[in-house]
Amino acid sequence: MYHSAVWREPLLNELEETKKEKYATKSMLPDSLQRKTSLDIPNLDETQVIRHFLRLSQMNYGIESGIYPLGSCTMKYNPKICEDISRWEQFALLHPYQDETTTQGTLRIMYELEKMLCEITGMDHFTLQPAAGAQGEFTGLLITRAYYEHKKDFNRDEVILPDTSHGTNPASAAMAGYKVIEIPSTKEGTVDLEMLKKVLSNKTASFMLTNPNTLGIFESEIIEIARLVHEAGALLYYDGANMNAIMGKARPGDMGFDIVHLNLHKTFSTPHGGGGPGSGPVGVKEKLGRFLPVPRVLKKQNNFCFDYEYPDSIGKIKATYGNSSVILKAYIYILLMGGNGLKETSEIAVLNANYMKKKLVDSTLYQLPYRQLRKHEFVISCEQLLSTKGIRASDVAKRLLDYGLHPPTVYFPHIVKEALMIEPTESESKKTLDEYIDTLLKIAQEDPSLVKDAPHNTAVQRIDEIGAVKNPILTWKNIEKLNEIHI
C-alpha cells in the first residue's frame, strides 16, 4: 500500500550551522542607518540546503504525483515544454522598464495572447495585468465602477451573486466598495430567475456568475438572465474559473457577459506553484475597453508597444504588466493545443466528469443532488454515509490520502451537505478514473473507525487545526509554545 515519505526534517534554524564566523561589516554605511539587532538566518552549506528542501518536496503532493481532482481548481497536467521555455534568459532576464525595441518578442506574445483569449471567450479586449483570479474579479469590478461613474450613474452600489459562488466573488465585490446580495439557488441548483428579478434594480451594478456553476451545472437560462440584467441597466460578470468546461462549445461573450476573467493557472495549464504565481486576465466588451488598466499592448505596423494614453482607464492594478512567465506558459499551451485541441480539452474534461459521476451515483453509496447532466465537475454528497456510518466528507477526503490520491474539494458549495466536489480534468486516463472511483467506493464500505482516523500513511497524521488557531505559532521564534498544544 502507498506510504508517503516521512522525514523528520528539522527547521532550517535547527540545522547545524557550518559557517560559524560572524560577518564583520566594513561598510561605509552611516552608523545611524545600521542594524543593531541580530539577524537570525542560519548560515548553512549548499548540501544542507538542497537536502532540506528536497526532503520537504518528498512530503508534498503535486499533479505529477497523481490525480488531483479539486473541484473548481482545474488541476491539469502542466506541459514540461512550457516550464522549460519560460526559463530561457531572453524571457526571464528581461527588465520591465527596458526600451520597447528590445522586448518585441514578449510584447508580441502579450498582444497575440490577448487576441487568442478574445476569440476563446467572445470578448473584444483583454488585459493580462491581474495576478490571479481574485484580482481579475477586483479589476472587473473597478471597471464596473468606472463605467457607471463615467455615465454619472452614482446610484448603483449593489452586486448580486448566487449562493453557489466562489468566496472570492463577494470578497472582491466588498473590496471594490459594493454591497453584496446573495440569492439562493433553485431546487435545480441554478439561478432563481424570480428571485433575480426581485433583487435587480436601478441600484444593481453587476450580477456575478460562474457558468457552468460550481455544482457543474450549465445555467441554461443564461440568455434570459443576461436580458434581465441588462434590462435593469446592470452588467453581467463571468467568473472564468470553470472555463475548462466550454472551450470551443460556447463563449461567455455570446451568452451576454460584459466582463470575463480567466484563470491561466487553471484552464490554460500553467502550474499552480503551491499557491501561485497565477494570472487572471480580464476581458471586456467594446463599450468597456476604454476603462481597462494601462498600459495596453498595441501593434503599430510590425512593431509592438505599450500605450498609456487612455484617460478613462482605471490605471494600474498590479505593478508592471502581470505575471509574465505565467502569461508566456499559457501562450505556449494555446499554441500547442490549437483551436481543435482546446475544444477537445473541454469535451474530454466533461466526458471524464460525467463518467465518474455515473459510476459513483450508480453505486448508491454517494448521492447526487440536483439534476443529472454535469459539465467538467460535479458535486456528490456523503450525507448517507454520515447518517449510516458516521463518516463525513472530510473523513473520506483524509482516507483518500492513504491510497496516495488527492481528495476533491470538500464542503463547497455550501448549499450541498457533506459535499465532495470532483473535477477530474482531461488529463486523467480512464484507468486512473476507474481506480479513483473504486477507491471512493471501497472507502464507503470500510470500517468507519479506519476512515475516521485517517490518514495513516502520510508524513503526519490528522492535524490539530483548532490547536493551531488557539495557540498561533507562526515563526520559529516561538516554537516553545508547541508544548501548550495538548492532543
Binding site: G167, T320, E428, A468, I485
Partner: protein, 446 residues
C-alpha cells in the same frame, strides 16, 4: 490529442454513459449560443512550437546580452542554481494551495520557514505567506490600517512610484479612503519632515514610508517619525528593499507596525516584472487583521510536529464579503524561491550582499557625477539606486541603446519636475568592466 489520454477512448466511454455523440454532453447549452469551432490555428507539435518560441526569444534582449542600469525598484540579482533546482521539483510547483495539510507538509514547512525569515529581516513578529507584489501590499496595508484605527485618511510620500500610487488609489477607492501626499525635500530627496508634521493628524489611519525611497535615498530621520504617528494613533507602515536589511536597521527597530516590500529580488528573476512577491509582516497585535494566508505550527493526533494553514476565518473562502482581503492564489512558488535563496545565502551572505550593493551604488554614482554635465540630484545617502541629471537624458538613452546598453530609468515622463533625470540602479551583477563601459559611453554624449 497531446495531453489528453482519453482521446482515443471517447466512443467507448460515451457508450458506457449510454450516449452516442460527444455533443449529447452539451445538450444543456442553448442552440443560439453554441459554436462549432474556435477560430484559432490548429494544434502544433512541440518541436514546432519550440522553434517558434526561439524566434520570438531572438526579438528580446536579455540582461546578459544588453547590460542594464535601470532603477525603479526592479534590478537583477544573482540567483544560485540551487533555487532553480528546488522550484523545479514538481512535487512543489505542480501542487495546489495546501488545503490538505497531511499531504502538503513539505510546502507548509517551507512557508513557515519563509515567514520566520521575513519576520527576522523586518523585525516584525509575524509574516503572511505572501501577497501579489510590493505595490498591492501598500493597498492591503492601507485597508488594514483603516480596519484597525477606524480612520479613513492614508498618507504617502509624494515620491513613491506612479504605479504604486495608481494601485493604492484602486485598492482604497471602494473603502472611501482619502490619500494625502507629503512632499520630499528637494535638496536631500528625503521626506520633508515639516510637511509631514503638518499632514499627520488625529484623522490619519496610517503613513507609508519607503526606505530606501524611490530615489534610492535612505530615510534617516525615522526615529522622529514614529512618535509623531504614535501621538496621533496612526500606524507606521514601512516599505523596504529586503536586500538592504542585511545591514540596515530593520523597520521593527524604529517602530514600524507593518512592513511590506517587493521580495522579487530575493531569488526570483526579473521576468519582465512578473514573478513578484509581496512581503507583508506586522506586529503580533494586528494578527487577526492580516490579509492573505498564514501557516502555523501545530501537532498531529500522535503529538508529532505538523504544519497547516491557520487563522482561516479571516479569509474569503470562509468569511466571503467580510474577509480581510479577496486574495486567494498568492505567489507561492516565488515565496519558495525566496525561502531557498535566503537559506542558501544565510544571514552572513545577506550582509555581504547588502554591503556589495551599497558600495557599488556609491562607486557608480561617484563615477557618473564626476563626468562634466552629469550631476547628483539628491544629497541624501543612497543605497543601490540614485538619481542623476544628464545634459540631455533622451540623447543619453538613445546613445547607450545604440551601443547595446540600457541606461537609467527616464524619470521626466512620470515626474515632470525632474527634467533630464535618470534613475540608475546597480547590483552585485554589475562588474567593474560594465560600469567602466557605461561611464565611457556617457562621456561620449556630452
Amino acid at each position: 490529442m497531446q495531453f489528453i489520454p482519453n482521446s482515443p477512448l471517447k466512443k467507448s466511454m460515451l457508450h458506457e454513459l449510454k450516449l452516442h455523440d460527444i455533443n449529447d454532453l452539451f445538450s444543456d447549452i442553448p442552440k443560439e449560443i453554441k459554436i462549432e469551432n474556435l477560430k484559432l490555428p490548429p494544434s502544433r507539435h512541440q518541436q514546432d512550437v519550440e522553434d517558434h518560441m526561439r524566434q520570438l526569444a531572438r526579438q528580446n534582449k536579455s540582461f546578459c546580452e544588453m547590460p542594464s542600469f535601470l532603477g525603479g525598484g526592479y534590478k537583477p540579482h544573482y540567483i544560485p542554481a540551487v533555487v532553480k533546482s528546488i522550484i523545479s521539483r514538481s512535487e512543489f510547483y505542480t501542487a495546489y494551495t495546501p488545503y490538505q495539510p497531511e499531504t502538503s507538509q513539505g510546502f507548509l514547512q517551507a512557508i513557515f520557514e519563509y515567514q520566520s525569515m521575513i519576520a527576522e529581516l523586518t523585525g516584525m513578529d509575524v509574516s503572511n505567506a505572501s501577497l501579489y507584489d510590493g505595490a498591492t501590499a501598500i493597498g492591503e496595508a492601507a485597508l488594514m490600517s483603516m480596519r484597525i484605527t477606524k480612520k479613513k485618511t492614508f498618507v504617502i510620500p509624494e515620491n513613491i512610484s506612479w504605479e504604486k500610487k495608481s494601485i493604492l488609489t484602486n485598492y482604497t477607492k471602494g473603502a472611501g479612503i482619502k490619500i494625502k501626499e507629503v512632499a520630499y525635500d528637494k535638496e536631500t530627496g528625503k521626506i520633508d519632515l515639516e510637511d509631514l508634521k503638518k499632514t499627520i493628524n488625529a484623522e490619519t489611519a496610517g503613513f507609508y514610508l519607503e526606505n530606501p525611497n524611490f530615489f534610492g535615498v535612505f530615510e534617516d530621520a525615522v526615529e522622529e517619525i514614529h512618535p509623531l504617528l504614535q501621538k496621533n494613533q496612526s500606524l507606521f507602515i514601512v516599505g523596504v528593499d529586503p536586500i538592504s536589511l542585511g545591514i540596515c536597521k530593520s523597520p521593527g527597530e524604529y517602530g514600524a507596525d507593518i512592513v511590506i516590500g517587493e521580495g522579487k529580488s530575493l531569488g526570483n528573476p526579473l521576468d519582465f516584472g512578473g514573478s513578484t512577491l509581496g512581503i507583508f509582516a506586522c506586529k503580533n497585535e494586528f494578527l487577526r487583521q492580516i490579509p492573505g494566508r498564514i501557516i502555523g505550527m501545530t501537532k498531529d493526533h500522535q503529538g508529532k510536529r505538523a504544519f497547516c494553514m491557520t487563522m482561516q476565518t479571516r479569509e474569503q473562502h470562509i468569511r466571503r464579503e467580510k474577509a480581510t482581503s479577496n486574495i486567494c492564489t498568492n505567489e507561492g512558488l516565488c515565496m519558495l524561491a525566496t525561502a531557498t535563496y535566503l537559506s542558501w545565502l544565510g544571514g552572513k551572505g545577506l550582509q555581504e550582499l547588502c554591503e556589495t550593493n551599497f558600495e557599488r551604488g556609491q562607486q557608480l554614482r561617484k563615477q557618473i557625477s564626476a563626468i562634466p554635465g552629469f550631476s547628483r540630484v539628491f544629497s541624501g545617502v543612497h543605497f543601490n539606486e540614485f538619481v542623476i541629471r544628464c545634459p540631455d537624458a533622451a540623447a543619453v538613452h538613445t546613445h547607450l541603446l545604440r551601443q547595446g546598453m540600457q541606461g537609467g530609468l527616464l524619470l521626466e515622463k512620470w515626474y515632470p519636475k525632474l527634467t533630464n533625470c535618470m534613475l540608475f540602479g546597480v547590483t552585485e551583477l554589475h562588474n567593474d568592466e560594465s560600469m567602466t563601459r557605461l561611464v565611457s559611453l556617457l562621456k561620449e554624449v556630452c
